[in-house]
């Protein structure tokens, strides 16, 4: 417990010390803002319009145009509202409102747009105009249900539906929706049987009395509230559809085509503060045509604090930053990336580039009028790169040496030194132990299994094993050596984990995709189908083990006969059964390639080869590694790649992935490229233009140390290794083992690491923010307090060595912060020490304050 004895240990002094350290160290994380940016006039350079070809058919067909202007700053802006439209032949088509063209009669014409002397053109063809609408359930009714969110997961699209009415999410299964609307009844994910009462949602005899119309108009009570009015186009469409006999109507011979895909324009755009952008959403139909469905989709902003979006697809900038707009159409989902730029920066500074990473990062910052922060100081860089490459703080003599060096190549040389250090092996073994989930409770429950798995990872890091090879070995592991151990829990067959979860984990890990949704239905926001999900699952459907005599040397293998049921249910083998079709699923790659018969004894190797050869593999890998250095992925979260979660820097991601592939999936080379970039070496001190930027890597984002690294850092500063976590119920690590070198993750107890959010490796990683428990632990926990005054500890050795207060304070700063104290800090701390009746206690308190500070607890 702190605050125990003497003047030096009094709360007042402690708080004073902490205040000194915190205020000073916090100041170092801030910086002088740049001067407010001014503005200057921009000139329009060119314009383009979308779409360039318009095909209008059917009943009152129309198409919205968007005009984009490219300006002298290189950015495109929506100039639709400032453009004038001119139709060559207004007997064929005419402009309605500001930018919508409507078909009048059959024929062809052109539309010309003009703004400030710049022109663009689009061709228009009008044909097959009809008075009577031919309905398509999935397009016409499905889009209304989607647009109003009726089939969203929190409404009727939920697993159990709502109020006895179930719809598939986003009209993923229009046939099912059609049946439920016509016949009533609810949907069950894993069975085709239901005993629920069936209430039809439409009334063919009296269409106006259909529940499908009365509920959303609140003619009868509706828990979801009003969705549209009785005089709205949507009401009329549904009514017309029912009056027409409620046809399903997607068959081509019925004159209506299905939707093959949906596209949004523009996919990427920037807005100035307060600016707007109109989106156009096109459906590409199965008959080859395209159709404007901008009014038939549901728009939502991922971050409404940056942009909001109206029902008509108009995006408005309300804050600063970058976010995505998700567009849900019936059976499809796409997204557009919206960025809100800051004020123009006069005299935007030239920024040097170290490698291609900087080209992409700084290029985007330039477009967004964000000035990158300055290069980090040597001290800042040294601490950061040591933590990021080796998980270890540099010793004071190395700090002095580096800071004193005038070698212009000292950063590059340091990087090479660290990449070749044994601490690099320790740290990246730790990283991949987290990633690959090394933990006794998740690796079959034995210390040996855990150790074997951990050693496999360590060997891979030490030998520089290509990442694709590591992935193949992990996915396809057989036998009893290291990587096979992570299957032992699953393979015991009394474990409830199904092959679908094991498959899902591998895909999440190595392809960065979450397929969980596709287990029960086609993925609502991505292109993964339920068939693909179960086809992939079947690769793990024969994964079993033979147990040997002492039942610890379990051998993992694939038995083409399949797995066994657990719990004595049956003597038959458990096949992988598709939950909808109830048929056995054979291992099939997502591209439809079935597992060749000759590979039935080794199906997971076939899958591993497919995964590691897929473009997603390298993308997911570089994105994950990138996130370790920048605190967030280019796609973030790193395991949630999907069309509706676009990358912040798609070109950079592609370049990194290409480089990674070309370099033989060499992790060390990738890491070297990242840390040598100027983008990585920027200071964490923001400037006025980038203060609010969190996604464009304009300045280094300070991030809390992992619990393990934090604990090791405290042990390093205090010179007292931690012992609490060494002893577990099943093992005891050698004295002196660092927290990041622990293997028995699930059981190595440590109150410190628990309260600091150590990942237990059993589930998905999560990190908690600062908590009251953490604060209490720093005040009274043994990690802080028992180490400070320990005989033989760092401080004890300092005091016995006869060093002066100045020397000790400097040394403590070098240890904790990798920098010398500022003159102000030094003066104030020396004064405190001189006034203190107990030098030892005050120095202990100072050390406590240093390791309790944000500057210490963060990598910055």
């Amino acid at each position: 417990m702190r605050f125990t004895s003497g003047f030096g240990g009094s709360p007042t002094v402690m708080l004073l010390l902490l205040a000194v350290v915190l205020s000073l160290s916090a100041a170092s994380l801030q910086g002088e803002p740049l001067r407010p940016a001014g503005s200057h006039a921009l000139t329009l350079v060119s314009v383009e319009m979308f779409p360039e070809k318009v095909d209008l058919r059917g009943v009152e067909p129309s198409q919205r145009f968007v005009v984009l202007g490219t300006f002298s700053d290189g950015l495109q802006r929506d100039v639709t509202s400032r453009s004038s439209f001119d139709v060559e032949n207004d007997e064929v088509a005419k402009i309605e409102g500001t930018s919508r063209i409507v078909g009048v009669s059959q024929g062809e014409t052109r539309v010309r747009v003009e703004i400030e002397g710049h022109f663009a053109e689009a061709s228009v063809r009008v044909q097959d105009l009809v008075r009577e609408k031919t309905y398509s359930f999935s397009r016409d009714i499905g889009s209304i249900l989607t647009k109003h969110g009726c089939n969203s997961s929190d409404c009727h699209g939920g697993v159990k539906g709502q109020g006895g009415f179930k719809l598939s999410q986003n009209t993923l299964y229009p046939e099912d929706d059609y049946k439920w609307i016509l016949e009533g009844g609810t949907f069950h994910v894993l069975t085709d049987k239901s005993d629920d009462p069936k209430v039809p949602r439409i009334d063919l005899k009296e269409p106006e009395k259909s529940l499908l119309l009365m509920k959303p108009t609140m003619a009868v009570a509706h828990g979801g509230g009003p969705k549209f009015a009785q005089d709205s186009p949507d009401y009329r469409t549904i009514l017309g559809w029912i009056q027409a006999g409620a046809p399903f109507g997607d068959a081509a011979d019925q004159g209506s085509a299905g939707v093959d895909g949906v596209e949004v324009f523009p996919r990427k755009f920037v807005l100035e503060p307060g600016g707007t952008q109109q989106l156009v959403v096109m459906a590409h139909l199965s008959d080859g045509r395209s159709e404007d469905i901008s009014d038939q989709v549901l728009y939502s902003s991922i971050n409404p604090a940056i942009v909001n979006v109206g029902n008509d697809g108009t995006v408005k900038a309300v804050g600063k930053g970058e976010t995505a707009i998700m567009i849900r159409a019936a059976g499809h989902a796409v997204s557009a990336l919206a960025g809100v730029i800051t004020d123009l920066v006069p005299n935007y500074p030239a920024v040097s580039e170290n490698n291609y990473i900087d080209e992409y990062v700084f290029g985007k910052l330039r477009r967004f009028n964000i000035v990158p922060s300055d290069l980090s100081s040597d001290a800042e860089f040294l601490r950061r790169v040591c933590l990021d490459l080796a998980g270890t703080l540099p010793p004071p003599n190395r700090v002095r040496e580096f800071l004193a060096s005038t070698d212009p190549q000292k950063r590059e040389k340091l990087i090479e030194t660290l990449l070749d250090s044994p601490e690099y092996v320790d740290y990246w073994t730790f990283r991949f132990s987290q990633l690959f989930r090394v933990g006794r409770l998740v690796n079959g429950g034995t210390t040996e299994f855990n150790a074997a798995y951990w050693e496999w990872i360590r060997d891979g890091v030490l030998d520089g094993k290509p990442y694709d090879q590591m992935a193949r070995e992990r996915i396809s592991a057989q036998g009893w050596d290291g990587p096979s151990r992570h299957f032992t829990r699953f393979a015991t067959e009394n474990d409830p984990t199904g092959p679908q979860e094991v498959m899902g984990e591998q895909i999440r890990l190595f392809m960065g995709r979450r397929l969980d949704c596709a287990q029960c239905h086609n993925h609502p926001f991505d292109s993964w189908s339920q068939d693909q999900f179960w086809g992939l699952t079947a690769f793990f459907g024969s994964l079993v083990q033979v147990g040997w005599s002492d039942e610890t040397d379990m051998v993992i293998f694939d038995n083409p006969a399949g797995r066994d049921y657990a719990w004595g249910q049956s003597e038959d083998v458990a096949k992988v059964i598709h939950p909808r079709t109830k048929k056995e699923v054979n291992a099939t790659l997502p591209d439809g390639t079935p597992l060749p018969p000759e590979r039935k004894f080794d199906p997971r190797m076939a899958l591993a080869e497919w995964i590691t050869g897929h473009p997603h593999f390298a993308e997911a890998a570089v994105n994950r590694i990138w996130s370790y250095f920048f605190g967030r992925g280019i796609v973030d979260p790193v395991d949630d790649f999907r069309s509706t979660n676009p990358p912040s820097h798609p070109d950079l991601l592609a370049a990194l992935a290409d480089d990674f592939r070309n370099q033989g999936h060499d992790l060390k080379k990738l890491i070297r490229t990242i840390v040598r970039s100027r983008a990585y070496q920027l200071t964490s001190v923001p400037n006025e233009t980038n203060r609010h930027d969190t996604t464009n890597y304009s300045h280094f984002q300070p991030r809390p140390l992992d619990a393990e690294l934090f604990l090791d850092a405290i042990s390093f500063v205090t010179g007292v290794t931690d012992e609490e976590y060494l002893d577990t119920t099943r093992g005891h690590e050698p004295v002196g083992t660092r927290a990041m070198n622990l293997k028995n993750w699930s059981i190595d107890h440590s109150m410190f690491m628990e309260v600091h959010g150590r990942y237990d490796r059993a589930g998905k990683p999560s990190r908690t923010g600062p908590t009251l428990l953490q604060a209490l632990h720093s005040f009274s926990g043994r990690t802080y307090n028992e180490k400070l005054g320990r005989e033989g500890g760092r401080l004890d050795r300092f005091l016995r060595s006869g060093r002066s207060n100045r020397e000790i304070v400097e040394e403590l700063y070098l240890l904790a912060f990798t920098r010398f104290p500022s003159q102000d800090e030094l003066d104030r701390l020396l004064r405190l020490l001189e006034e203190s009746p107990s030098r030892k206690t005050t120095l202990e308190d100072l050390t406590w304050a240093l390791i309790s500070s944000r500057e210490f607890a963060y990598n910055h």
Binding site: T447, D481, E493, D550, V555, V735
Partner: protein, 619 residues
């Protein structure tokens, strides 16, 4: 026939009821050091329970003699009531004892593991191994040597180092000088009656380090290699990259061996032979892979004392007289009548390529020994053989060089239509009866309803393993009904003058043998009698109520139990040392009696007060 033994057993039981509680049986826990050099005299520290008074530390052979120097209690007595009582109202001291022995090893003592037991009035203890080597034996130093700076030098190679890991997480460092490209072998072993202990399995951790330092820490060591943590008794072969000083670290994977009886370890360091790293194999007296000590005596004793090698051990030698030996354990007329087939067999070596059914090597009629090597990962060997309608066939696999889990031979037999008819993958219910455990069996039997040509394929169960040492021999033969393994339930017999004792045995009836088995005891000490007993099949399984997975008869013999009664005259002389008795068996069927064969040898101790002179002689 069965009336007399039944009465005898009843008499034995009633006599036992009236007898006073006997002193508790001694139990040996650990010893240190774990062995010595031939010709030297070693002081050994022995830890055990119920060791007072220690009559003798008994080696099976005279090549080693032990003298008890001192016996002392260690620690406090355990909780009352946790163990046996010595007599009415008297609690036994249940804490541990430490005995100090002087072990004289004859210069010509056989090298390898020797087994010894402690003998007290409470009986004969479990055995522990004591290894005799030709190399010099040294002990670890008393001072800590848990880092490079304090590493204990190993001055001569080869040598055997005996050490202990009493502290949690302890690591012992040894320093040695090596030359460039020198290949040294390192082996570590723990001997203890408590390892494995329930869920604990002690596995040594062996690693080689160099003093390299790092940018962060100039004193940091650099680990060059570590053994596979999955190995129970690791052998590490290392080719040194340069001349200079290197360090060897010995630890235990869990780091918690010190919590238990701290049995100590034996580290062998020796140069590799001409075959380089390959020559660093396990020493001959150590099984390559530990198994459960289902029968402690059989598991621990030298092969000479084991009655018969298990028919279900992948390491057994299936040699030319194999079938003849099986027949010898039956009634001659019976076996020839029922099994048919010959006793000699021809061997067929695989011919690559033979991965596919169409590439099978035709071997014709059985018996035939199919030999091959899973030369590379994924390799499959295919053979074709012929059987008659209704043939009862046994498939026996031997893997002479590598055994499971290293090489896991998977055998599948398919018919002419390509349908699988039998494999050696066995499924049994786990201990709790709620999940399935699978095993690959070294012996599988099958009844072929239809005769004709069948194909058998052999592969490693994984698609990752293979190599020149993945050799196998698969004997396909007609079944031979015979008496299989006979296992005593206890590893010794103890009897008191004037009283009776029993020895329970389980008898395997292999391949449909359905006769009786006469069990008898010979070479009894004066004044002790044994009453022969007949065992008859009786099936009972604890998992009968569970749904059958597969017909276990394919993989497991029928087993019957029998109990031999022994009686000691009131005047029978108490024995200071155990007496080795011989157990024999004789198959009986259809009124015919087969030839007697040896089951094995068991130590028997006649209780009673040993004269003080005898005790003194022991000390």
């Amino acid at each position: 026939m069965r009336t007399i033994p039944a009465l005898l057993i009843l008499a034995v039981l009633s006599v036992q009821l009236e007898a006073a509680d006997p002193p508790a049986r001694p139990k040996l826990i650990s010893l240190y050091p774990l062995g010595g050099q031939a010709g030297e005299t070693v002081e050994v520290e022995l830890v055990g329970k119920f060791l007072d008074p220690l009559q003798v530390a008994w080696f099976y052979y005279d090549q080693l003699e032990a003298e008890v120097l001192k016996l002392e209690r260690t620690g406090e007595a355990e909780k009352e009531g946790a163990g046996q009582e010595e007599g009415a109202g008297t609690r036994h001291y249940q804490g541990k004892y430490r005995a100090f022995l002087k072990v004289r090893i004859a210069p010509d003592a056989d090298l390898g593991a020797h087994y010894f037991r402690a003998v007290t009035p409470g009986g004969i203890s479990n055995p522990l191994r004591f290894r005799v080597t030709s190399e010099p034996n040294v002990r670890e130093i008393d001072a800590r040597h848990n880092e490079l700076d304090t590493a204990q030098p190993i001055d001569s190679i080869p040598s055997v180092v005996h050490g202990r890991l009493p502290e949690l997480g302890e690591v012992d460092f040894y320093a040695l000088q090596a030359t460039r490209h020198q290949v040294l072998c390192f082996q570590v072993d723990f001997f203890s009656s408590t390892a494995p202990l329930g869920l604990w399995t002690f596995r040594p951790k062996l690693s080689i380090h160099e003093r390299k330092g790092s940018w962060f820490d100039p004193g940091r060591d650099n680990r060059l290699v570590i053994n596979d943590p999955m190995q129970h008794r690791p052998t590490l072969a290392y080719k040194f990259p340069r001349d200079g000083e290197f360090f060897l670290a010995v630890a235990e994977v869990s780091g918690k061996i010190g919590m238990f009886e701290n049995p100590g370890y034996q580290l062998r360091v020796f140069p590799a032979g001409s075959s380089g790293e390959e020559s660093c194999a396990f020493v001959p007296d150590q099984p390559a892979h530990d198994g459960p000590l289902k029968w402690t005596w059989a598991g621990e004793a030298p092969q000479s004392l084991v009655p018969m090698v298990s028919e279900r051990d992948f390491a057994r030698k299936i040699e030319a007289d194999w079938i003849e030996n099986l027949r010898a354990r039956s009634v001659r007329e019976d076996s020839s009548e029922e099994s048919g087939g010959g006793v000699s067999f021809e061997s067929f070596a695989e011919q690559e390529p033979n991965d596919r059914l169409g590439q099978a090597l035709e071997v014709g009629a059985i018996p035939a020994a199919l030999e091959g090597t899973i030369g590379e990962p994924g390799d499959i060997d295919t053979f074709k053989f012929k059987v008659a309608d209704g043939a009862l066939v046994a498939f026996e696999i031997e893997t002479p060089l590598k055994r499971p889990s290293f090489f896991v031979p998977w055998m599948k037999v398919t018919n002419a239509d390509g349908e699988e008819v039998v494999e050696n993958l066995n499924k049994v219910w786990g201990r709790s009866g709620n999940f399935v455990v699978k095993y690959l069996e070294a012996k599988t039997t099958y009844s072929f309803e239809k005769g004709g040509e069948y194909t058998v394929q052999v592969r490693d169960i994984t698609s990752r393993k293979g190599g020149s040492d993945f050799r196998y021999r698969l004997l396909v033969r007609d079944q031979v009904p015979h008496v299989g393994a006979i296992r005593p339930e206890e590893d010794h017999v103890r009897i008191t003058p004037g009283q009776a004792s029993t020895l329970e045995l389980s008898v395997d009836l292999e391949e449909g043998f359905h006769g009786d088995v006469l069990l008898s005891v010979e070479n009894l000490p004066p004044g002790v009698k044994a009453f022969p007993v007949v065992a008859r099949p009786k099936q009972a399984r604890s998992t009968e109520d569970l749904p059958p997975l597969r017909d276990q008869k394919r993989f497991r013999p029928a087993t019957q139990r029998a109990m031999i009664a022994l009686m000691a005259d009131p005047g029978a002389a108490p024995s200071r040392r155990p007496w080795l008795i011989d157990l024999t068996a004789r198959p009986i069927k259809g009124g015919e009696m087969g030839e007697a064969f040896a089951i094995g040898t068991l130590p028997l101790l006649v209780d009673g007060k040993v004269k003080k002179q005898q005790l003194a002689a022991n000390r």
